[in-house]
């Protein structure tokens, strides 16, 4: 039974097979691909900084940061100031946060008896878009991160403006999602405390329990994070057992017959990426508690994502304090990129999970470019013997509506998946 899932930055076709009134298997097909990797071929390296954000309109900034890091990793030696690194991490955080707000208020709410809330979604996410614009010129689609640093000179006024936007966003979080004190929320280690509070997030979590959906969405309970930074640790977590070593060498992509997407595995296994994965590898106390009670279900996934929102807002304020204004924004690389013939690989955490970019340069021009997106990890389409993460999560559910909820709890980005 084929169901077209829409409004996921495109569409996907899910072909459901039922057995005994339960979902027995589901095939996931992504329908379009643009061939960005081909569009990049033979262009000068820096052009990738303009083209790659256009892989996606909602997570294009993650693609930018992954691109500039991949380019910089083509150098043997290159110096990036701490200031530039911090500002890049800030704008990346802001993109994650705006994603999370949109997902919660536009995608998730309607599954729990409330209408979509565009006003809240746009209000909160546009605060973050504005914060990015203060530092990077505009959002969406800027290219302010360049090989050697960033193009913008950051003034004191800029940082003050950004901090007040973060504060306004935290106030929104408090007034709408969970009316907990952010400092409490930051270190909270029990979901019982959440249930004592009020807010849209609390309502959704309570509904999941009330509707007996706490088993929905469970999959392999296996998580992986590649894009370590000052907040996220890279590593993998098998249930709660964390191992901080992950290597790109073990990542393999595999073509799928029917779909334009490619599957991706780590040591031949499917892993979940995204906010829940990051929280498990970070051992975030609140999420560990949710996981203890409800495993890798939609409960934990939804909580992890909105919890990450508050934590990134909080962490960003700390990052701002660490900026040394005396440092330069940009340090000209000693070797011009036109002289570089090399390869570089990078990973950043995008909203939906780890994003990996791999570039090969010859004489400063792009010979090859490969991108592996988070949705490829979560929405892989395998056969019954090695199911993808979301496939596995949907099996055993009793209706397509239930499957849609689980599917969208992974937050799919169709354009990224097929790029």
């Amino acid at each position: 039974m084929i169901e077209l899932i829409e409004k996921i930055e495109g569409e996907a076709k899910l072909d459901f097979r039922f057995a005994n009134d339960l979902i027995d298997f589901v095939e996931i097909e992504f329908l379009t691909a643009r061939g960005i990797e081909n569009i990049l071929k033979n262009r000068p390296a820096m052009d990738a900084l303009v083209i790659n954000p256009r892989v996606c309109g909602i997570c294009g900034h993650a693609h930018l940061i992954a691109t500039v890091q991949a380019l910089e990793n083509c150098y043997e030696n290159i110096e990036i100031s701490q200031k530039a690194k911090i500002v890049r991490e800030l704008t990346l955080n802001f993109e994650l946060i705006q994603n999370h707000f949109k997902w919660f208020y536009l995608v998730i709410l309607p599954f729990f008896g409330k209408p979509q809330d565009p006003k809240k979604a746009v209000y909160a996410s546009s605060l973050m878009a504005k914060a990015i614009a203060v530092l990077a010129g505009q959002y969406p689609h800027n290219s302010y991160a360049i090989v050697g640093g960033i193009t913008s000179y950051i003034t004191n006024g800029d940082l003050i403006k950004v901090r007040s936007l973060i504060d306004e966003c935290l106030m929104f979080f408090h007034n709408n999602l969970v009316d907990a004190d952010i400092d409490e929320f930051w270190i909270c280690d029990s979901i019982e405390h959440i249930f004592e509070k009020n807010g849209d997030l609390v309502d959704v979590l309570m509904k999941i329990i009330y509707n007996n959906q706490t088993d929905f969405g469970k999959s392999y309970d296996r998580f992986i994070v590649f894009g370590g930074n000052s907040y996220f640790k890279s590593g993998k977590s098998n249930k709660t057992v964390v191992n901080e070593h992950v290597k790109f060498d073990y990542v393999q992509e595999e073509l799928i017959d029917k779909s334009y997407a490619k599957n991706v595995y780590y040591k031949n296994k499917s892993f979940e990426v995204g906010p829940l994965a990051r929280a498990m590898v970070n051992k975030t106390p609140l999420i560990r508690d949710a996981h203890r009670k409800y495993g890798d279900s939609i409960f934990s996934r939804i909580l992890a994502r909105m919890c990450e929102t508050a934590q990134l807002l909080h962490h960003s304020k700390q990052l701002i304090k660490m900026i040394d204004q005396k440092e330069p924004s940009f340090i000209k690389p000693k070797v011009d990129i036109k002289q570089i013939s090399s390869t570089g690989i990078s990973s950043v955490e995008a909203a939906r999970g780890s994003l990996i970019h791999n570039i090969e340069l010859i004489g400063g021009n792009i010979k090859n470019y490969a991108i592996i997106t988070p949705t490829q990890w979560n929405l892989g389409c395998g056969n019954k013997k090695n199911l993808g993460v979301a496939q596995n999560a949907m099996i055993g559910l009793s209706s397509i509506d239930e499957a849609k909820l689980v599917f969208k709890s992974f937050d799919v980005c169709s354009v990224c998946t097929t790029h």
Partner: protein, 289 residues
């Protein structure tokens, strides 16, 4: 009466959709207009319903490039456009891909192009629709331009268009108008380094603002900033030439930029440049702070 809008995407990245979603008065907008279909927001119909037969519609928005091979809900995007184009009052091509082909004219779909133009060449498939089309180019669009244009349509206002069907109110300016680095451009202080407040990026860093149309430095981005103000060159994303090759480089022939400011004859530019080069203005050669 709320005008009914169908927003359908061709070969797209959804950048225009998400730029639209930075428009802070969206609740007021949604009170004044009805989306019969939207790529992200809830809409009257699903995609499947929209393509199965023609629903009542007043304005058709198309973003993304179009091609005979590209489908939405198993229907060719061009067919969807033809079907709705005959019932709507106005069509808007949203973004550079839908207007000129943009980045995704280079995608793997055959003959991908904008609805009316492939670069600056008029395409024949939708010629009969030109008279009711407005182009809003940009990669992505500035949301204010789209929203304002929709209100102008709703209120039956006169919209003057340029030869690419873009509203002159927004595209009559160049991106250069309003850049905070203007003085450096005027007096040809070209010794710019990235990460600095001072200097102009036109001469050495590929800035296309002096010859690209748009309002980025007039209606700022996200109400606060723009690329050139924050030290990035303008990549000319509103024009039919986007994306050029070598976007961070200024193509020069023996020191003269290949692309001169819009409408400025070569001899005029060189004379002006020559005069300014003869003088050194101390203030402009010092750091601002």
């Amino acid at each position: 009466m709320k005008p009914r809008i169908l927003w359908i995407s061709g070969i797209s990245c959804y950048g225009n959709v998400h730029s639209f979603l930075t428009y802070t008065n969206i609740d007021i907008f949604l009170d004044d207009f009805e989306f019969i279909y939207h790529p992200v927001l809830d809409s009257t119909y699903t995609l499947t319903q929209i393509v199965e037969d023609v629903k009542g519609c007043d304005i058709l928005l198309i973003d993304g490039a179009v091609s005979d091979d590209f489908m939405r809900a198993d229907k060719s995007i061009k067919n969807i456009i033809q079907q709705y184009a005959s019932v709507v009052e106005k069509i808007i091509t949203v973004g550079t891909c839908a207007t000129f082909g943009g980045i995704f004219q280079h995608s793997s779909y055959t003959g991908a192009s904008g609805v009316h133009f492939k670069a600056d060449e008029l395409q024949s498939d939708f010629l009969h629709l030109r008279h009711k089309t407005i182009s809003i180019s940009g990669c992505p669009i500035q949301p204010e331009i789209l929203v304002n244009t929709l209100y102008e349509i709703k209120n039956n206002m006169d919209i003057k268009l340029d030869s690419f069907l873009r509203p002159k109110e927004y595209f009559g300016y160049t991106i250069h108008n309003g850049c905070t680095r203007n003085e450096y451009f005027e007096y040809k202080v070209d010794n710019h380094n990235f990460g600095e407040l001072e200097g102009c990026l036109y001469y050495n860093y590929g800035c296309q603002a002096p010859y690209s149309s748009g309002s980025c430095n007039k209606i700022l981005w996200n109400e606060v900033n723009s690329k050139t103000r924050s030290g990035s060159p303008c990549f000319g994303c509103t024009e039919y030439t986007f994306p050029k090759i070598g976007l961070f480089e200024t193509k020069k022939n023996m020191g003269i930029p290949q692309f001169l400011p819009l409408g400025v004859p070569k001899r005029a530019y060189l004379s002006i440049a020559g005069v300014t080069k003869a003088f050194t203005i101390d203030r402009l050669n010092k750091k601002l702070m």
